[in-house]
């Protein structure tokens, strides 16, 4: 029997039940009474700050009032009108820095209305029937190619289809959903939610999904622009930043996104090997997710090593607390200088840093941590497609998602702006509206 104390990489450190419990819903769904009590706390603010804070501008006071008056499905519809992926957003949005941060009850008592959980209650009540709330407009005869079936692509495709256009949705991966399927932490989207959501969304009709089709190898932008009335690029960030330190190629050093993707796709978590001592390098959401999930898989010690101070971490305070509560050690102001080992990794050597007016300097002092597994989570980058102009490594777009290429729009992580699911949804939707306006002129 393996346990958290088993040295090196090992699978099955925890039994099936413990793993099931560990990876279950982070926040249990509300029951009907809880939802009504939670909904009743909403003040129905004028020009509500929460709605302004939501990138998709969901009419939050309205949908919450619909829950309070006993119509969760109508509430769900209010959400889906603005955000067709309101279901996943309810689960993954860092509400503590979006709608809930803006809630006036934060000012009043530091306890916001639990908008995310209420949104989940409303969207679940619609999706429980797997019945689609929108009808497709009459066929327009226009054809649009959407590249990438992540949040941006799905949101764009749905809005276009709803308006009566025909959409060919291409994705390089075998499954649609983008990071909803391959990246989001397991406990945020349980029971195959990402897949069910895509199936539900596709019920609008008019969208043909083509998986295993990658732009650059299987498709070219020139062909797409020639064959379709418009093209939307929502391919996310396909590559990761490289870590430059000695021993970077040792066995046991991997990209956090690959580890998470493997975890998300594993049908039996007891078969997934994890180190006894795991070190995650980075300070964003991906780093936290990798660290927490390594811990939940049964690693004995998990350390998140970030080069700057805690305040500078990309992960929100809430995410940091979550990591701490699961037993992850957060080590700040350290950079990896060497990864030691004999073939496989055994130790990581980190140098302490100081920030001097924004520039980071090593102090010369180092520390060595035992490590059987090291995950790099120092950011993803765009694999740029041939054609559109870039801006700081991403596809340059206007407010409504137009690229420098005629007939080509883009949105989501592959364009500038915050890399969040909800932002991708908003950009996909807005680009669809602009494409529609352009094509129907």
């Amino acid at each position: 029997m393996t346990s958290p104390l088993t040295p090196g990489l090992a699978a099955g450190r925890l039994d099936t039940e413990t793993l099931a419990r560990n990876f279950d819903d982070l926040h249990a769904p509300y029951d009907a009474h809880e939802a009504r009590v939670a909904a009743d706390r909403c003040y129905f603010c004028h020009d509500a700050p929460c709605t302004i804070a939501c990138p998709t501008e969901i009419d939050i006071p309205l949908f919450i009032r619909q829950i309070a008056t006993g119509q969760p499905e109508a509430a769900g519809r209010t959400i889906f009108e603005q955000n067709i992926l309101g279901g996943i957003c309810a689960r993954v949005c860092p509400t503590e820095t979006l709608c809930e941060e803006a809630c006036v009850r934060m000012t009043a008592e530091e306890k916001p209305v639990e908008i995310g959980r209420l949104q989940r209650y409303a969207t679940d009540s619609v999706m429980a029937r797997q019945d689609h709330p929108f009808a497709r407009a009459a066929e327009t005869g226009k054809r649009i190619a959407v590249v990438g079936a992540g949040p941006a692509g799905l949101s764009c495709a749905h809005r276009l289809a709803m308006k009566g256009h025909s959409v060919d949705l291409f994705d390089a991966k075998p499954k649609p959903g983008g990071l909803n399927e391959y990246g989001i932490a397991t406990y945020k989207a349980t029971n195959g939610f990402a897949g069910r959501e895509v199936d539900w969304l596709m019920q609008i009709g008019g969208i043909t999904l083509h998986t295993g089709k990658a732009l650059g190898t299987d498709l070219s932008l020139d062909t797409l622009t020639a064959e379709y009335d418009a093209v939307f690029l929502g391919m996310g960030l396909g590559a990761v930043n490289a870590l430059t330190c000695d021993g970077n190629d040792r066995e046991g050093v991997a990209d956090a996104v690959d580890f998470i993707a493997e975890l998300r796709q594993a049908s039996d978590l007891t078969t997934l090997p994890i180190g006894r001592n795991v070190v995650v390098i980075g300070g964003g959401m991906t780093a936290v997710d990798a660290a927490v999930q390594a811990k939940l898989l049964g690693a004995q010690n998990v350390t998140l090593a970030y080069r700057r101070s805690r305040a500078r971490m990309g992960a929100s305070e809430y995410e940091q607390d979550l990591a701490a509560s699961k037993g992850v050690t957060i080590l700040t102001n350290v950079v990896p200088v060497a990864i030691h080992g004999n073939g496989a990794v055994r130790e990581i050597e980190l140098e302490y840093t100081v920030e001097d007016g924004g520039t980071l300097q090593g102090t010369g002092e180092t520390v060595r941590l035992p490590a059987d597994q090291i995950f790099r989570a120092i950011g993803q980058t765009l694999v740029a497609p041939q054609g559109p102009e870039l801006e700081r490594g991403k596809i340059k777009v206007t407010e409504t998602g137009r690229t420098s290429m005629e007939g080509v729009w883009a949105g989501g992580d592959c364009t500038p702006g915050e890399d969040l699911t909800v932002v991708a949804v908003a950009e996909g939707r807005d680009a669809a509206e602009d494409i529609h306006a352009a094509l129907m002129r």
Partner: protein, 434 residues
């Protein structure tokens, strides 16, 4: 510790909290437990005439109105008077009174509106040793269709007549319980007084339909798809009850007539308010039905605590203190000019005051950059709506304009002296101030 003892019509009880005539007082078992729990008095569930008892519906008899978190705000009922034999009730009352001599025990009665019926029941009630009787002229459903309850209470002449019979055939205090289902409560109160009533108690329940089932379109409570109006009670009716109490307390014709206050009493504060409006005690039903007999403990402790804080040694020290302050609109001081003030520190920026004033009041709140809300004195009429809808207590308050300053809304100086409508130049009937 303040003394909560009350002496109502010569009937002494250790506190002013009586259970109103209703299911909580329908039998010996409950009443004993109520007294053990600390209730000062009990008005027994209304007795009917000798003979086969009334029957109740056998499906649901209550409807409800909820606030947040299923908090009961109001209940309505289609229950009738006691459905147990008269003899059983009388025997039980006698036993209870003997065992609880320090508590008030009142018999509530409703018999047909003829002298013989009253003459028949009163001596039998007297034999129980109870402290007085309450005439149920209030029940708005069922019994009223048979010419009793509210059917009597809505005709002042009947009230006077029946009260007179009771005073003739019964020698202990007679309390007349009034129905609110009437346009001017002073008329039945005057009739009761003229008939010789020792006191009035009010209110009984208000005719109501609490809700309609939107699947089968039956009013609730639904009896096989049909509903009948029921009597509404609970916290929701308190404002109506208090106004009626105040009307009687300040009517020159009934001023001084003892009143037992009923309607939505749920906490010590409700009781204190009723008493300040002239009530000698209060009666409680819905609060007990919602929370059980133990609720009286909070009421007693709370009232006592408040009295200690205020330095009132006994109930009489504050009884009726609010009555002189209840006046007619025409005597309100029109020179009392206030403006709403928003405390920026306390403001949580929900904007409810803005929406309320902008959409439905006087467009007197500015919404500045950064959700800063400020009152425009030139438009504020001091209606109070912003304060009412603000979720933060004391965030918005009313500030009185000092005499001699200019009211920016009217451009006129605030007068120092009192001035009401009867003296106002816009009033064609105005009399010059003396």
């Amino acid at each position: 510790m303040a003394d909560l003892t009350t002496n109502f019509l010569g009937i002494s009880s250790p506190n002013p909290f009586w259970l109103a005539s209703a299911p909580p007082t329908d039998k010996e078992y409950n009443v004993r437990r109520a007294f053990d729990a600390g209730w000062g008095g009990v008005v027994w569930k209304t007795l009917g005439a000798e003979g086969p008892p009334v029957v109740n519906v056998n499906g649901p008899r209550y409807g409800v109105i909820y606030g947040a978190d299923r908090r009961v705000l109001g209940i309505n009922n289609i229950e009738l008077i006691t459905d147990r034999p008269l003899e059983t009730n009388l025997e039980e009352m006698a036993r209870v009174k003997a065992d609880y001599p320090d508590r008030a025990l009142i018999a509530s009665i409703m018999v047909p509106c003829d002298e013989a019926s009253w003459k028949a029941i009163l001596p039998r009630v007297a034999e129980t040793g109870c402290d007085g009787i309450e005439l149920n002229f209030g029940c708005p459903h069922g019994m009223s269709e048979r010419g009793m309850g509210a059917a009597v209470g809505q005709v002042p002449e009947y009230i006077e007549m029946v009260t007179r019979w009771c005073k003739q055939y019964y020698d202990k205090p007679v309390i007349v319980k009034l129905t609110p289902n009437i346009t001017d409560i002073r008329y039945p109160a005057r009739a009761a007084k003229n008939g010789g009533a020792d006191a009035v108690s009010l209110i009984n329940t208000i005719s109501s339909i609490t809700s309609v089932n939107l699947d089968d379109f039956s009013p609730e409570p639904s009896i096989d798809g049909k509903g009948s109006h029921g009597g509404y009670c609970g916290p929701a009716v308190k404002p109506i009850a208090m106004n009626m109490v105040a009307e009687i307390a300040r009517d020159p014709e009934t001023h001084g007539l003892p009143i037992s206050g009923i309607g939505g009493v749920t906490t010590w504060r409700d009781a204190a308010e009723f008493i300040s409006l002239g009530c000698g005690n209060v009666q409680v039903c819905t609060a007990a039905m919602t929370y059980g007999f133990k609720i009286v403990e909070e009421m007693k402790r709370g009232l006592s605590e408040w009295m200690d804080q205020k330095g009132y040694a006994s109930i009489d020290d504050f009884k009726g203190r609010a009555v002189p302050n209840v006046t007619d609109w025409q005597y309100l001081n029109l020179n009392y000019i206030t403006k709403a003030r928003i405390d920026q520190e306390a403001c949580i920026k929900c904007g409810r005051c803005y929406a309320a004033c902008e959409d439905t009041s006087h467009q007197a709140i500015w919404m500045h950059e950064g959700r800063v809300f400020e009152v425009n004195d030139a438009e504020c009429v001091a209606c109070n709506l912003c304060i009412d809808v603000c979720p933060v207590e004391n965030c918005i308050t009313m500030e009185r304009l000092a005499p001699g300053t200019i009211d920016p809304r009217t451009g006129r100086e605030v007068p120092a002296e009192y001035g009401n409508w009867t003296q106002h130049p816009n009033n064609p009937m105005a009399k010059a101030a003396e």
